[in-house]
């Protein structure tokens, strides 16, 4: 038997982890019977719920928590490896450690924060995949817990430290390059509106067209993946006959090149395609792509979090926006 955790309380009370977390953080949303049962289990096991902020101020575990996203991110998954390695190596230089955990959604992730703080005494968190109405950052801010995000607080004020890559600058670089090559019909293949990074990448392409006096360009929004890129390219080719494609990801770009080839259009010769993320697959296939300085992002996340943990953060949250660069290959 180890220390009692959210898991063991949940098991003892025959409820979910989320319910235990609710009893601790938002007791009103739990029925009185269930609440009783969970509180009894907490007492019986000696679980210390939500000693979070107190514990954080008095002791230092030197441990940083990171929620590892489910795999299946397609070819972009490799970017996570780079991020994890740089994060771990930088943390070690500062005598900190990275502890992994999983969570099915934002709410489960906040339950995991509470658990990690109570059971392990984690010092702070690095968050990835920020998005609009991010309840994780709200939850951490309310409790004044140290964290940093890889990703801007989309649609919200700069109320916490963040590190990000300027996606708009990346697609702008791609678009400017295509304009210089003489392309006039430059399409954008991206994701449905509403995702912070997706809208950001589309904005860079639109700004590039505007700067070149090319007005509105043709664009398609699909879910990420090779099939999405394929269908988007098909529709765009039939309606607008673009000669170049700026894509929000390498997966989309691979779909576009596949569709072009199927139609007898040679990527790199008859049409240009530029992806985003510079995955190993892009390198293998000769796909031009926008490269993010992922190792730098991870190192900066650790440095910012360390500043917070040492109580050396200024009045304004630290924010760092890295500029990506363009890797030109055969497409």
């Amino acid at each position: 038997m180890g220390r009692p955790t959210l898991n063991s309380v949940a098991e003892a009370a025959a409820v979910s982890r989320q319910t235990v977390s609710n009893v601790i953080n938002s007791p009103d949303v739990v029925s009185p019977e269930t609440r009783e049962r969970v509180l009894a289990a907490i007492e019986k096991l000696g679980y210390r719920p939500n000693t979070a902020a107190r514990q954080m101020r008095t002791t230092r575990s030197q441990i940083i928590g990171l929620c590892i996203p489910p795999s299946g991110n397609g070819v972009s998954g490799v970017v996570l490896d780079q991020f994890l390695h740089s994060l771990t190596a930088t943390a070690e230089r500062f005598d900190h450690r990275i502890m992994l955990f999983t969570a099915a959604d934002d709410e489960a992730e906040t339950a995991a924060y509470a658990d990690l703080i109570a059971s392990v005494g984690v010092d702070g968190f690095v968050l990835t995949n920020t998005h609009h109405d991010d309840l994780r950052t709200r939850w951490l801010l309310e409790r004044e817990l140290p964290f940093v995000t890889f990703g801007r607080p989309w649609g919200a004020e700069d109320t916490h430290p963040w590190v990000d890559v300027d996606g708009a600058a990346g697609t702008r670089l791609a678009t400017d390059h295509l304009v210089r090559q003489g392309h006039r019909k430059i399409a954008f293949v991206g994701w449905p509106e509403g995702s912070g990074s997706g809208d950001d990448r589309r904005a860079g392409w639109a700004a590039g067209l505007a700067a070149a006096g090319l007005g509105d360009g043709p664009r398609a929004a699909v879910f990420d993946g090779v099939e999405g890129g394929r269908s988007a390219a098909g529709r765009l080719l039939e309606a607008h006959e673009p000669t170049a494609f700026v894509c929000a990801s390498d997966s989309l770009a691979l779909g576009v090149t596949a569709e072009l080839r199927d139609r007898g259009i040679r990527p790199g010769a008859d049409a240009a395609v530029i992806g985003f993320d510079d995955t190993p697959t892009a390198s293998v296939l000769g796909l031009s792509s926008v490269a993010q300085p992922i190792a730098d992002v991870a190192a900066e996340c650790v440095r910012q979090l360390r500043t917070t943990l040492r109580g050396e953060a200024g009045a304004e949250p630290a924010t760092t926006l890295f500029t990506p660069h363009l890797v030109l290959r055969t497409t």
Copy 2:
């Protein structure tokens, strides 16, 4: 200031982490002057060196250490994501956590073990990339520390628990399939001799040829990567004109298909190519490949380590060999 660690001792004594570890574990290899300095720093900082085994038996941190390999594994990197996610999720079900660390080589990894045990009180370790003369497993065995490896103890007895995938069975499946398709000149593209998993994969191909009465087949050994696959395919085609290729990795297989295309040989139509690892890139490009049940491997690693930690392991180390399966696509 957090707890003193190997790092802070190393810094205070102006020596490397390895030197501190040597002073603790093999003092004879360190000069008396350096030893003095390191011991003084240990005393001054209150570092608890090598309380390892003792600490492990009395307390449980519920933390499992995993050394994260440097990225740059090419298209195979994504397999690590799957492994990490499954490892973390399974550990959580048993109320354990995964802590990451980095190490440049085996010796640095053992120094990190000592540090993690002394500073964090890690319960045990999961090791990847086992190899001949693996000094990590020897180090852990000598100290009776709990661990499990993803990978067999190549060239050594089964002296510790391990989980692995039967690579030979995978290349045998690939070879048998090609034989059934009517191929008679089936080449193998693998790595230089001496790597456990590489030799294993080559053995499966050789066994498949022998079973079909095809004798010795043409083969080439190169370092992993697309360029290696390319040059191996070129040499094999010129010397032996094989019609099919079994490859030790998807990276090699991608190089083979690229070389075939450059020579006007259509993969899937004029020649068959089968990779190994079933990476997302293979899926995107329609490359046939041998798929490893990575999530199952990770989950089994946690289960075996848990058995050891609970003192429930039998007299013989637990060993689990998973069988891979063949994913046929267009090549």
